[in-house]
Amino acid sequence: MTQTINLTIDGVAITVVEGTSVAAALARSPLPAARLSVSGQLRPPFCGMGVCQECRITIDGKRRLACQTPCRAGMRVERDAKFRSDQHD
């Protein structure tokens, strides 16, 4: 049986299969973006291989690349505050 793990994205719980990257978890979340560009565009992960830097995100308080980080149980994934407040408007 495949192991599942629970983590949170912006405080919302999500369950993924073990081995899933944070980028893949984001893709399964209601809003599959990692960050906002300076001009306010939603930026999802792009290259998936640690080159383009589009998937920068805060994981357990540190800036990380979502595509290079495997999900772990209890992980806190956070997009920036502006991003979150925009989504709630």
Binding site: Q53, R56, R63, R64, D80
Partner: protein, 370 residues
């Protein structure tokens, strides 16, 4: 197309500023550029009063005064911030240099404030321990130079015609473009950085490669452009490679980290060894930088005359040819002074500062004396 009064070659920040200023003087200008990214696209955009010699101090101080009228009119995407510069002293003897710098700036009415170690950390609390103090220059600032260059071109309005093309030959009053077009004007202003060597058949300009690195966004960590006081010493080592600490907090929260200098290497690929030395130097001042993520690094080419000072004004013996070249590491800062100076000279007006130190004829004198 009607013949313009002036053709400006090169649409980096220097050429763009000159073109704008010339149209303000009522002249019709054609601006021609090959569309390649130049130093303006690669640099830091620190507007900084520099005092390595009296002529440089006069030009940067005058330019900063001119900037002060321009800056409030710039659109948001030019990212102007009046963050000032904090010059950092590692050693107590550098404080003497800070005091000399304060006096030199005061001589041209540029205000600055010496800071003891505790006043320095009060201004910028996350600086590493053990710094001796520094000098705060509140009138300095930062811009995003590529967008400022675009804004100059927009502001020039209908008197400016902007065309894309590579100039391959200069036979004043004619310019030959690679695509076969020929342009003619009574005045031709070269603002094409080291591209001018070929057009003038001279070797007046050398390239100095510089590298920068930028972090992810870490808002509100720093509020001043930081530069080591030893900058002039390390940055101007006569040959070979050098690094100096120079860091700029961007309005996005990113930290732009410089800088390195290396003569005559046209390879634009980043040099990882030099980059590491540059980053180590930065961590000497801000140890917490080591925990941040860099997202990009790149290089650019400053263009330097034999004495490191720009060549501004008429060509020494080719009437109708004008020069705005060799701005080295200060071309963003000195673009307005350059533009005002050249526009005054081309329209036969007396410039607000003495133009003599910038004349290219000094190069011939140096050759004779050598």
């Amino acid at each position: 197309m009607n013949a313009p009064d002036v053709i400006v070659v090169g649409a980096g920040i220097v050429g763009a500023a000159c073109a704008w200023r010339l149209t303000q003087r009522g002249l019709r200008v054609t601006l021609v550029d090959d569309g390649r990214p130049g130093a303006t696209a690669a640099g830091m955009g620190h507007l900084v009063c520099m005092d390595d010699n009296p002529a440089e101090l006069a030009l940067t101080a005058w330019s900063l005064a001119l900037w002060r009228d321009i800056l409030p009119r710039l659109p948001d995407n030019c990212a102007w911030r009046d963050c000032g510069t904090l010059w950092l002293a590692q050693q107590p003897d550098e404080l003497e240099e800070a005091e000399r710098k304060r006096q030199r700036l005061a001589d041209v009415q540029v205000a600055s404030e010496p800071l003891c170690a505790s006043a320095l950390t009060a201004r910028e609390p996350t600086l590493g321990a053990g710094l001796a103090g520094g000098l705060w220059v509140p009138g300095d600032g930062i811009v995003y130079a590529p967008n400022v260059a675009r804004w100059f071109i927009e502001q020039a309005g209908e008197r400016l015609t902007h065309i894309t093309g590579e100039v391959i030959a200069l036979e004043e009053p004619w310019l030959q473009l690679r695509d076969g077009r020929r342009l003619q004007a009574p005045a031709i202003l070269l603002a094409c950085a080291s591209g001018a060597n070929k057009l003038l058949a001279e070797q007046w300009l050398r390239i100095k490669k510089g590298q920068l690195a930028i972090t992810d966004r870490y808002p509100a960590r720093l509020s001043h452009q930081l530069v080591e006081l030893g900058y002039a010493v390390s940055a101007h080592a006569p040959d070979g490679k050098s690094v100096a600490f120079n860091l700029q907090p961007r309005p996005t929260g990113q930290l732009l980290i410089g800088s390195s200098r290396e003569y005559d290497n046209p390879d634009s690929r980043p040099d990882p060894v030099l980059l590491a030395a540059m980053l180590h130097r930065a961590c000497d001042f801000l140890p917490w930088l080591a925990d941040l993520n860099l997202i990009r690094c790149w290089s650019g080419f400053r263009s330097a005359s034999p004495d490191g000072q720009p060549l501004l004004g008429p060509h020494p013996h080719r009437p109708g040819v004008w020069l705005a070249l060799g701005h080295e590491g200060l071309g963003v800062t000195t673009a307005p002074g350059t533009a005002w100076l050249l526009a005054d000279q081309i329209t036969d007006n007396k410039p607000a500062i003495d133009a003599a130190p910038w004349l290219a004829s000094r190069l011939n004198r140096q050759e004779v004396n050598a």
